[in-house]
Amino acid sequence: MKIIKILPLVFAGIIIMGSSAFAKCGISGGSIRILANDFPAIHAVLSAAEKCAGGGVTFTKNTTKEHRNIVVAGLTANPAEFTSAVVANSSIVPLLNDGLIRPLNDLVAKHGRGLKKHQLITINGKIMAVAFMANAQHFYYRKDILKKAGVGVPTSYEDVLSAAKAIRAKGNMQYPFAFNTKKGWNLGEEFINMYLGYNGQLFKPGSPEASINNSKGVATLKMIKSLTEYSNPDFLTFDSNATQALWEGGKLAMATMWGSRAAAVLDNKGSTPEVTSNTNLASAPTVGGGSTPATTLWWDGFTIAKNISNKDAEATFIAMMNGISTEMVKSNNDAAVWLIEGFVPGKAATGVSASASAGATPYPMLPYAGLLHSALGSELAEFLQGNESAQQALADVEAAYTASAKEKGFL
């Protein structure tokens, strides 16, 4: 009888001990809701973070290419729809502008001892995000095709043009070059990369006024136009998926693509061994006789929302620290150029590391950079189709940017 009476207590004890054993990562409870972009490196981080779920801790994630369209609305709600948003240089800006993310100084002091100093994104001393990977557009080339055409590896865009000319002359490939020139965000990004390669200033110092209608802007447009002459005529529809597909299909000899595509390009899926084994990565080319690679450096990191409980914030921070742990990096070494302790740069990381060491500029984290980026993306297509002059195109960009900046309250 006594045994039967104490049996329920024994069972209860076992269950309680069992459930506390499931409180992994040392989190007592809370809800973790993450919003992020959709590419393999992010999936690696979030799968590692997801291991902290269970035992009172709920975990949901939303990985979508449209994350930038929903992040502001999602974090403005109170309580916020997401406890953490994975952001990059440009997508953190609207969150900072609207005050939607919280400073992480105390959480980093408590749980972030393993973080390196350059992983902390600070503004006026407040840590607003923890970065875990770097990315940049850089140069990819097919060493077999360059060898057949008898040209060396190009180190500047002028070299790229002469190499493309030689490849076309030898009859090997009609359109040997491609980069992400799809009208919209991609085209704007290519302009900004090239313009910064010429050491141009996007804005007048300390002011939201655009200053791209100058000789460097015209030179940038002329260089982009010359490069598109060696691209398939449909270049105004090329986004990163299209250029990757062209590369893996063996249709290109040289390309400027994102470093985050390297793992997919170099793996055994989607392409032939001839293409994969002959693909080499290099730093982004310089241009106009300068020494700065014509590209911008990007970081990806996670933030914690402001409009959530402190318990959820702490749970999310601990889970994301698990997501960016050294163990995760060791099992996904080649998925990205990790900024985390334990990363061993492989072939897939050569382009980004080379661009960074050559002194490439980071993408500007200015509140009005996105407006100029949109204006560039929409107005430059006409110039590339040969319908207007470079000066007219740049004047159009500045006028469109000024109208939007006035409407958004920057001017």
Binding site: T122, P367, A381, E388, A399
Partner: protein
């Protein structure tokens, strides 16, 4: 019908129209008169994986305070309507003063985003609508004269272009006309030109979008006219045949007058729908070559990085409504005249 019964009869429709049409339009109109508050900026020390520097950033608290006090924003009057992204009145006056001739003036206007979109929208509307009506009528006549066992399947296949979701239909066509796709490479072979690309030139893109629009909307006209053809009284047709009318004269003097109300109806619907063309531009990734009024509203609201321009989108919406109203004036006056003549 006594007025009271009439009011009760239409009350549900009237209420839903007020709630779901009038109120949103009024809200958009109010929105179009305001712009966002000034952003309060400050300089701060920003550190990232690539180094530290002094950068401008927005003072979130100060800006939020402004917004709490006046949530709608700063009153801008009709300035949003006349700014560069819309009617661009000051830019047009400036171009008029500096341009060297009609052609130069015209090309400078086409540089402005609103007028570029308006040009394509109007071209699309006034080319697609007549083609849809004529083709729909011819197909209806053709199907009407088929053997009955073939009619059913033919009607089914003729309706398919309209049933396919516009976005999916245009996406599939986009892949087919790609230079590597079946239609694209066939065209290249026919014209013996390896650099021919329907996506690269504005003229070809416009033609492609218009052809897609006609293909997609013709079934609507076809099914309406086909239904109308069933109601034509046989006696009138037989009488005209006895009078010695040829096939063409029969169509012109009997069939078309009977179908005239339906033709006006289809014209009305097509004018309104084609003026709001949007899905083909997205599906064909054609925004580099062709934009429409609905597309620029979408572009303003797409809101990557919270850069949505609500006032601008609202102003374009109002201008679209005014445009549709202007287009429909001839058709509506005709209906009004007929209504008045009937009641007399």
């Amino acid at each position: 019908m006594p007025h009271r019964t009439f009011i009760y009869f239409i009350l549900p429709s009237l209420l839903s129209m007020i709630l779901l049409i009038a109120v949103p339009i009024f809200s958009a109109m109010t929105q179009s008169l305001f712009i966002a508050h000034k952003q309060v900026v400050m300089v701060s020390e920003t550190c990232d994986p690539f180094g530290c520097k002094k950068e401008t950033s927005v003072d979130a608290e100060a800006t939020a305070n402004l917004r709490v006090k006046e949530p709608l924003g700063i009153f801008n009057g009709f300035d949003t309507y006349t700014n560069r992204n819309h009617l661009a009145t000051s830019e047009i006056i400036a171009s008029w003063n500096v341009s060297t001739g009609w052609k130069d003036f015209f090309s400078q206007i086409m540089n402005l985003p609103f007028y570029k979109a308006l040009a394509f929208t109007i071209t699309y509307t006034f080319v697609v609508t007549p083609f849809v009506i004529i083709l729909g009528f011819l197909i209806a006549l053709g199907v009407n004269s088929l053997a009955s066992w073939v009619k059913g399947p033919t009607i089914f296949f003729s309706l398919l272009p309209m049933i396919v979701t516009p976005l999916i239909g245009s996406l599939i066509l986009f892949w087919m006309i790609d230079a590597e796709g079946i239609l694209g490479s066939t065209l290249q072979r026919i014209f013996n030109d390896n650099s021919l690309s329907l996506k690269a030139s504005p003229v070809l893109t416009w033609i492609m979008l218009i052809v897609y629009g006609i293909w997609h909307s013709t079934p609507f006209a076809f099914i309406v006219f086909y239904a109308g053809l069933q109601t034509i009284p046989h006696e009138t047709l037989e009488a005209s045949m006895l009078d010695g009318a040829s096939l063409w004269q029969q169509k012109r003097h009997v069939v078309i007058p009977y179908l005239m109300p339906l033709i006006i109806f289809v014209t009305l619907i097509q004018l309104m729908d084609n003026f709001r063309v949007f899905e083909p531009i997205v599906g064909f990734n054609a925004s580099a070559n062709a934009t429409s009024l609905s597309w620029i509203i979408f572009n303003d609201l797409r809101g990557e990085d919270a850069l949505q321009l609500f006032g601008s989108a609202a102003a374009t919406s109002m201008l679209t409504i005014i445009g549709v109203g202007i287009l429909l004036i001839p058709v509506l006056t005709r209906i009004w005249k007929e209504f008045n003549s009937k009641t007399v």
